[in-house]
Amino acid sequence: MFIEKYGKYLLLLPGLIIIVFFLILPLILIVIVSFMQIFTFREPTLTLQNYIDFVASPQTPTILLNTFGMSIGTALLTLLAGYPAAYVLAFKIESIKIRNYIISLLLVPFFIDWNARTIAWIPILGESGAVNYMLQALNIVREPVQLLFSRWTLLIIWLQTNILFAIFPIYLALIRIDPDLINAARVLKAPPHRVFYNIIFKLSLPGVVVGFTFVFVNTLGDYITPALWAGGIQVLGLSISSFAANFVWPYAATQSTILILIALAVLFVLFKIVDIKKLVE
């Protein structure tokens, strides 16, 4: 009786256990720890002091601006660069075979180890790297330019590593558009650019939103790439890891909680602006 009625929910159990024990509970722990103060010879006490410290810290505005500015900027840039590629893939390449070849090629970087991919930036952007060589050969610059270790390096690297997460959801949204909707717009007096904006772009918005979310969340959580290539700009992830490394758990937890809250707020606003539910139906 019980099995017949609720048996199907048993299938949810493995996934649910993993999510609850390894995601939800740790998150709750982080939030609790963020309100604690730990003393060497006393019991920990609950306090708001960590949050007050965070808000009062002179570094906070810079860190927040760096973190969210770089992530949102990368996400927007990636979408801008990824959309045309997805569009060409969906509408201009008619042969499914060629499409699949191109998609497989896009996946190639993921077959290469992360470390190798990271080190590969040195021969590309380094002082004696490919880009500098080209710039010198073309007489655009005389001395090698410093291309590594700046905010822009981070942007380029994040763009490269994340562009697929923008192309794919947009591509999937585009191929779902019924070609007759485009035909209908054309016979209803819409010139090509208005067909694109009113029909194609608006119907691909769910893909754009998903792409944004992927890239935004990916870059927000990545503190190693900024640490390696960004030339010392502070981001929240980096700050969390250094506090955690020095066993200042409560303050690291506070920063983590704030990071999560702001990320959720950004996504909330985004999903409010773009009514994704209406579009997906």
Binding site: V187, L188, K189, A190
Partner: protein
């Protein structure tokens, strides 16, 4: 009178050099309700989409309002198209869907609102403005699609199979709605495609029967029904009894055809000389056949065995077995129905003037007359 749409030797090739349209000549006039009818795959939708500008054509000429349409994009043509699957924009409500074309024409919002509300009222869609396409019924979606195509007041309104995805009652309602609207607005030619001969015949001022990318015959429905040029159009428009035969004798205005069920007399076909010995199709419409117990003194009469009835409400179709197991059907008004007995003998008779001898199986080359009749 020059046609609003003029089509000359129009050719459309699909990939792999498949010919979808093999040289279409057609002229459609202002204020006309024109029906393109044919089996699926005959090219009628391709022709419609070529007129609309969604598809390009490879050869021949197309004029709308006297203007050459080569390389003129769809949005610059004085047409509108209602697509077979309606293609309502899922991200817009009914009002915005209908207003789309007017907004693309950059009309001012006041005027758009007036026109849209007028069209919605005309199609009994008032009160649904704020609903989205997935929140209304199939019949409503269809009327929204029509409203959206109609509201921009094109010179030519193209309707691609508008009657194919709804149930019979809605089809009837929509067909009469179309006819009403066509009468109410002047200066607009309606061109509709259908594979359904009932709607085709009842809606059309004029119609074209299409087959394999060619036009079999153009004319008023009655003209095609009574004087079909080819066996294909005879069999596609209305019910018909077809007998395979050979012309034996030619008189002043009649011919005698030798068929499986005997020598049959019909009116002489208009066209050719050398009629004797030609393999032909002999056709007689079911409602032209008289049924009696004793052989009447008619020009054609065949002794048959009664098999069964197909009941259609206001009329019935009586199926008889003639010699050599040839089936003959006759339609009789229900109020006049005699009491047929299965396996009884009856005489079926008709006058030569009601029968036709058709020489051409089809305008499509290589169609064998026997294959067409016996459906091989």
């Amino acid at each position: 009178m020059a046609g609003i749409v003029e089509i000359k030797r129009l050719v459309k090739r699909y990939k792999g050099n498949v010919l979808a349209l093999k040289g279409i000549d057609l002229e459609i006039y202002r204020d006309e309700f024109f029906v393109l009818m044919g089996p699926s795959g005959c090219g009628k939708s391709t022709l419609l989409k070529t007129i609309a500008g969604i598809l390009d054509y490879d050869d021949g000429e197309l004029y709308i309002n006297g203007k050459d349409m080569k390389n003129v994009p769809a949005y610059k043509r004085d047409i509108s198209l209602m697509l077979e699957n309606y293609a309502l924009f899922p991200h817009m409500n009914v009002f915005d869907n209908v207003a789309f074309g007017l907004r693309m024409l950059d009309k001012d919002e006041e005027e758009i609102k007036k026109d849209v509300m007028e069209t919605l009222a005309l199609l009994e869609l008032k009160g649904l403005e704020k609903r989205f396409p997935n929140e209304i019924s199939g019949g409503q979606r269809q009327r929204v699609a029509l409203a959206r195509a109609l509201v921009i007041r094109p010179s030519v309104l193209l309707l691609d199979e508008p009657l194919s995805h709804i149930d019979y009652r809605l089809q009837r309602r929509f067909a009469s709605l179309l006819k009403d609207i066509h009468r109410q607005i002047s200066g607009t030619a309606f061109i509709l495609t259908t594979h359904d001969q009932h709607h085709g015949l009842s809606l059309a001022d004029r119609m074209a029967i299409m087959n394999s990318g060619l036009i079999e015959q153009v004319g008023h429905p009655e003209e095609i029904y009574n004087e079909p040029h080819t066996l294909f159009s005879a069999r596609f428009v209305g019910e018909v009894n077809t007998f395979m035969g050979e012309i034996q004798e030619v008189g002043a205005d009649s011919v005698w055809v030798k068929t499986d069920i005997g020598y049959l007399k019909s009116r002489k076909p208009n066209a050719a000389d050398n009629l004797v010995g030609r393999r032909v199709g002999y056709i007689i419409r079911p409602e032209k056949i008289k049924i009696s117990k004793t052989g009447e003194n008619a020009e054609n009469s065949v002794k048959c065995i009664f098999e069964y009835l197909n009941y259609f409400g206001h009329y019935v179709e009586a199926i008889f077995r003639a010699p050599h197991n040839v089936r003959i059907k006759s339609t009789i008004p229900t109020y006049n129905l005699p009491n047929f007995k299965v396996e009884d003998e009856y005489w079926l008779s008709w006058s030569a003037n009601d029968a036709r001898t058709i020489i051409k199986p089809s305008v499509v080359e290589g169609v064998d007359i026997e294959d067409l009749i016996y459906g091989r």
